[in-house]
Subunit: 458 residues, 2 copies
Amino acid sequence: MSPEAYLERELPRFREELFEFLRIPSVSAREENRADTARAARWLHEQLLEIGLEAEVAPTAGHPVVVGQWMEAGPSAPTILVYGHYDVQPPEPMEEWTTPPFEPGVRDGRIYARGATDDKGQLFLHLKALECFLATDGRLPVNLVALFEGEEEVGSPNLLPFVEERRERLTADAVVISDSNMFAPGLPSLLFSLRGLAYFEITVQGPTGDLHSGSFGGAVENPANALARILASLHDEGGRIAIDGFYDDVVEWDQGTREALGALPFDEEEYRASLGVAALGGEKGYTPLERTWIRPSCDVNGIVGGYTGEGAKTVLPSRARAKVSFRLVPDQHPERVAELLRRHLRQATPPGVRSEMQVLHGGLPWRAELEGPFLEAARNALEVGFGRRPVLTGEGGTIPIVRDLEELLGAQVVLLGFGLPGSNMHAPNEWFPDAHVESGIRTLVHFYREAGRLGPSG
Amino acid sequence: MSPEAYLERELPRFREELFEFLRIPSVSAREENRADTARAARWLHEQLLEIGLEAEVAPTAGHPVVVGQWMEAGPSAPTILVYGHYDVQPPEPMEEWTTPPFEPGVRDGRIYARGATDDKGQLFLHLKALECFLATDGRLPVNLVALFEGEEEVGSPNLLPFVEERRERLTADAVVISDSNMFAPGLPSLLFSLRGLAYFEITVQGPTGDLHSGSFGGAVENPANALARILASLHDEGGRIAIDGFYDDVVEWDQGTREALGALPFDEEEYRASLGVAALGGEKGYTPLERTWIRPSCDVNGIVGGYTGEGAKTVLPSRARAKVSFRLVPDQHPERVAELLRRHLRQATPPGVRSEMQVLHGGLPWRAELEGPFLEAARNALEVGFGRRPVLTGEGGTIPIVRDLEELLGAQVVLLGFGLPGSNMHAPNEWFPDAHVESGIRTLVHFYREAGRLGPSG
């Protein structure tokens, strides 16, 4: 039986297993889900063993890394490392989910669940592509290393040391990652860029305790008002980030890339309407695709202070906090951005309050090599799976490990995403296209097969 | 036995009863405390009956009004209306209370509990002053109307219609209210001004749902960033409120008043240090007392949007909200301020988001007549209770009903407060000075006695 025939036969069971995986609330950011996250790791470990790989759950200072290996294709075949993450974003705000985040179900051809696209659903496609080979041929066409972490959504604090320590055993010719979206339905895509990330928490502290806003209002610098002024100072009128030196390391992209982006089938009006806003925002002089793929940005991800319950409470809060993150582009560096922001805060904080800044998360931006045999194998595979040649696209999000794996392992990274635009990756009602379970696995079967025909260096 | 001797004998029981009253979590703003708030009303009703007044719990569209009456002093004696409120502010943030808000206890001469000063503790002093007369003389020196509402902390939405409807039966020569602080320990005070209030909730709505800040950051106007800009636009560099027309109705106070304020024993450095801040804030050209008593102010009372939990979540929130309130001075009007703010929001809201404004609460500012026999009776009573003549002080907070009762009933309003500065009226660890239970009741006994010697018109 061919791997493809096996896929067709086993698809209903595959979907059941995917749902089982998605039911585990592996929210890495939350202490209360620690046991669930560990359970997701064990689930993966058992899957790898059942499929026929050697596997282990490797502890780290945080959530464990699940490693799998199958090296029997021998030294003449290439080694592919597949990376994925089994942790997910917190599901809040819960009330906005139509069905509960950890009770997956299919509606209108979409599998709704936290992690359906990011990344449990896509990681799962690789597992099943490997199973299709091992269950039919009894072997894989390549040597394979599986590296599945549980801390991607909290900045992968323990992955890099882990990879450094096991460098020898993780050596690979190519790294393949499925943790992104296609550009449009029916339009397969290969990613050529990722933005970096610098994520901070800013706390503005005023009076020692909360005060009555009547008795004290007007004489005391209000930390929530001060925080608002500080946040407002981060942009200028034209939507540019107004931190001294912020653009110093930003490399302008070549005209060819900007033209290629301009040629993608993108309807700005449709994009605007799909978001439900009257107008788009952002930096003057750039298109929306440029603003999200090749230009940096700055967003408040969360803000809280004072009384936020029902009704009116006349309190002058003693502190207010905001989570603020920057998306970075080559050659910006999160540590440099932290330094610039710290300096900016010193200037922007009024005398009556103190501001503190905590670094929560960072990742380097990345830009791909656009040629190479593994990339060509991926192009062919996507054509098999989706019926047309893929386009090259950027991604505004960050997969910090991409650049690290590329540098540490000296491997070409291939980013093969099967999600669709609007998949709500970090929002309520995350979904993955049901049909892509099959076409995704089919694509990956072809990719591994074609990669197997290449030598170790590709 | 004299009322004073009775007070001395019964003081331990009075304190027990006060604690019982403070234990009821009568948080009017919270639906979940509706039954508790009703219980506080019943508790008051029983007290009034036990003391010897006629009383009823009068339902309203919201929390009930408790009314008591004793009119046997006859037409030659004046009628005093005592107003108070049995509802309290929400106690949050709970974790900042040293002991639970609804488990009153004495530490360092202070009774700690939500409502200890604002206003259950002070309302209670009047109950017990009346009891001291009725339990000894069998009569009061004045005709008395007690009017205790349960919605002061949510803007008294039902009190005014209630008073209008019952105007005949509530007619009084003077209104006395104890719901404020003395200027300093040992320095009794009479209030000559209250600021008004205009309290709003501003919601900034961006995209229909939360978005991934990586995929969309830079192309979409972030509602939390936009809200920060809107809030920042409410003040200018000099701490003045930067809303067009906001100061049009502000009456400048006479030089005499400003000099009297300047003569009060106020140590700006001590005030600053007590708040735990490196510098005070506020409008240039005014002292802290002027900023809080005779100048308007604008404070963010609460702000929330996006992810506010543990760790980092890269979300671009679909909306952000802030509670924003203005303290008003004569002759500002909350409805006019609402109109000006609405206009300001139209200008300050960027195209990619919508802002909505909800009016949560409003109250007119007030300025007292400074002469009159009831005021003189209060001065003498405070001298008896605290050993020295009171000073005239302002209050930055709002008691909206003051001006309404003055106008509706044509009565002089006397504001006799027994709290102390730093009583944390709307903050965690609210307290009332234990010794003022006795000296407060003693003052009020003297006040009612001296008022009884006046004719109906004072």
